[in-house]
């Protein structure tokens, strides 16, 4: 008997994956989520919608993004061939724009006038503000007050694009609080507003919808490898925050049993934690199944079910929950989860820059760290593809402070 397709299951119309996923939202959001799901499953089959999206992908964002053979890094590691999928080449510098364009087009179909979004480091907010400007929609971005203060450049860019950026002072003043505030905005303005959720988390249909919009990444890789005369890769590696870039990379290959899939979470300062705060964001190391922010998945939480604060050098991975499809794929053994520590990430970042001339975003550098661990142990005829989900220039204020602290601080002072 033929094995049932995982690809089909992961895009199922109910949005449940084993015990994970679902739509655990207040009653007022229920009709809104149903409307969105209905519209998405129709649009997905509509040739006109697909053509519009393809046009924006190709002629606006700059798809297809390159698949680069990392000859120098491969040689240095002395094992498997290493390929880099350069999602950092997208407009706004990361894969986030893939689902932003898709969702903004859906919002237009639903006759919404306004986009709202949460953002941590500002990358998803920036991509949302960009597509709002392009498609003529109003835009409000919620950002935890702490992030708002430490990501000043991105606040500036979003405002320049015409978006209103609101710092959220509730709770820990981080990404989670921004999500909660965006949900509250949606509860208050359900008729004219679309909440452009930025990852494969949240209530149904967001995980399914964003996986679909991100699946272009893996689909391009299959074609690009074929054109090179290479077969399917032996191993795919992606960093995992909410999980959007990982699902984008993995989805295409879910039904290829010989392709191994590895997700890399933020190991932060190490897998230790107190009652209230974890020094990492490795949900698959110490997290448990729970329900929060509208979905069931793995969360870092205390005994009572209160979500914990997390830590990572990369804001994009600094989150206590993870996409429900990844929780399911890990549970059935299709995806293996591991983690990289902050310091491993920084050295991976430098190594990639100096061997291949590419700055990876700190999120994506988690994947690089795992590539470095795996490649030398693999055979030369084998191959790895990793998702370089974003480019590293956005992290200047973090990397420069860590890698060239003295001179960078002197420079900052001189500019005052």
């Amino acid at each position: 008997m033929k094995k049932p397709s995982l690809k089909k299951y992961i895009l199922n119309s109910r949005g449940t994956f084993g015990e994970y996923g679902g739509c655990y939202v207040p009653e007022m959001l229920m009709p809104i989520m149903e409307e969105l799901a209905f519209e998405f499953f129709h649009a997905k089959k509509d040739p006109k919608f697909r053509a519009q999206l393809k046009d924006l992908y190709n002629n606006y964002s700059g798809r297809p993004t390159p698949l680069t053979f990392c000859a120098n890094l491969t040689k240095k590691m002395g094992g498997a061939k290493i390929y880099l999928k350069n999602e950092g080449q997208n407009l706004t510098g990361a894969h986030k724009i893939n689902h932003c364009l898709g969702q903004a087009l859906l919002a237009k179909r639903l006759k919404k006038k306004r986009l709202i979004a949460e953002t941590g480091a500002g990358q998803h907010g920036l991509a949302t503000a960009t597509v709002a400007a392009k498609l003529g929609l109003k835009c409000t971005i919620y950002m935890g007050a702490k992030d708002y203060d430490r990501q000043r450049p991105n606040v500036f860019w979003m405002e320049q694009l015409g978006a209103t950026v609101i710092p959220v002072h509730a709770g820990g003043q981080i990404l989670r609080d921004a999500i909660n505030e965006a949900l509250r905005d949606l509860l208050t303005n359900p008729q004219d507003t679309h909440y452009l959720l930025g990852t494969v988390c949240g209530p149904h249909p967001y995980p399914v919808m964003n996986t679909y919009f991100q699946s272009i990444v893996g689909a391009e890789i299959r074609k690009q490898l074929k054109r090179e005369g290479a077969g399917v890769p032996d191993l795919l590696i992606a960093s995992v925050g909410g999980g959007s870039n990982a699902m984008g990379l993995f989805y295409e290959f879910l039904d290829d049993p010989d392709v191994k899939l590895i997700g890399v979470e933020a190991g932060g300062k190490g897998i230790t934690e107190t009652q209230k705060k974890a020094q990492h964001a490795a949900r698959f190391q110490t997290g448990r199944t729970g329900v929060a922010e509208g979905f069931q998945s793995k969360f870092l939480q205390d005994k009572d079910g209160q979500l914990k604060e997390t830590h990572s050098i990369s804001a994009g991975l600094d989150y206590s929950g993870v996409g429900p499809q990844l929780a399911y794929l890990e549970e059935i053994g299709r995806v293996k989860m591991t983690y990289a520590l902050d310091r491993e990430v920084l050295s991976a970042y430098t190594l990639l820059a100096q061997t291949e001339g590419i700055f990876a975003a700190l999120e994506s550098a988690h994947a690089v760290a795992e590539v470095i661990k795996r490649a030398p142990k693999m055979k030369k005829k084998q191959s790895i593809v990793f998702n370089c989900s974003g480019r590293g220039d956005k992290d200047l204020f973090i990397t420069a402070q860590k890698l060239d602290r003295k001179r960078f601080r002197a420079y900052l002072k001189s500019q005052l």
Binding site: T16, E19, G22, C23, Y24, V25, P26, E27, M28, M30, P31, I32, A170, G171, R176, N180, L183, R184, L187, T188, N189, P190, R288, T289, G290, V291, A292, E293, G294, Q296, F299, Q301, K303, D304, G305, Q306, L307
Partner: protein, 240 residues
């Protein structure tokens, strides 16, 4: 018109939340929601969300709420005491065990805004409430469609909580005008009592609900009043 009021267990401290509760019950509140604080209260507005945060900083745990419930039941045995919280609190405690302990503490019913009837196969929330004789209070909003209203009607028990307007919990100056029509529409499908909440902050609002609903819910206004003028302010919201 009956009245339901709301406290967050552990806000501003566990002792003070008990005092606020006693004051509310003394002043004529027939129903009382005792909220177990949660780190991510998505259905709550800024006032109650901030109170959740402080209650958690005070170390409030689910069992503190059960103890509070027992004390309040002893104090006012004829009042209906409910627990309001989010589903993850039940899930981590054990949904059945939570319902059992709530029932043992003389709880009347549970209000869990992120446990929709659609997820019953995963949550077993309704079944557990039924097993222990708790009312699983259903929530309805102005944009709940007719077909959904009928589904919810089948699960309705005790009373149904009608959200008066779009948005999250929080006091408003005026009640929305279309409220009357909305409640009439709900009344056609729902056979149990109707409670109306979200935005009710003064006696004039309660008067406006006369003959339209059975229970008026006052939530965040109690926290605001307590912050402003203490227990006497809290009593005044009810007694006028």
């Amino acid at each position: 018109m009956k009245l339901m009021t709301h406290i967050v267990a552990g806000y501003p401290t566990l002792g003070e939340s008990e005092q606020i509760a006693r004051t509310l019950l003394d002043s004529g509140s027939g129903f009382l929601e005792i909220q177990i604080p949660f780190s991510d209260p998505i259905a709550d507005g800024p006032v109650i969300a901030a109170a959740n945060q402080i209650a958690l900083q005070n170390g409030t745990r689910p069992r503190d709420a059960f103890i509070l419930l027992r004390k309040l039941h002893e104090y006012a045995p004829d009042k209906k005491l409910l627990i309001m919280t989010y589903f993850n609190i039940l899930k981590q405690y054990g949904v059945e065990k939570f319902c059992r302990d709530a029932a043992r503490s003389n709880c009347y019913g549970l209000i869990v805004p992120d446990a929709p009837i659609d997820e019953e196969a995963h949550t077993h929330y309704l079944a557990s409430c039924k097993k222990y004789g708790l009312h699983a209070i259903q929530i309805i909003s102005p944009i709940t469609p007719e077909t959904r209203l009928k589904k919810i009607a089948q699960a309705a028990s005790g009373f149904v909580y009608c959200v008066a307007r779009f948005g999250v919990t929080g006091a408003q100056k005026k009640l929305p005008q279309e409220l009357g029509g909305y409640l009439q529409r709900v009344r056609k499908s729902i056979k149990v009592a109707l409670a109306v909440g979200f935005g009710i902050s003064k006696r004039a609002h309660i008067a406006a609900l006369q003959n339209k609903a059975d229970i008026a819910v006052i939530g965040s206004q109690i926290i605001r009043e307590y912050q402003k003028s203490g227990l006497s302010g809290v009593a005044k919201i009810i007694t006028g």
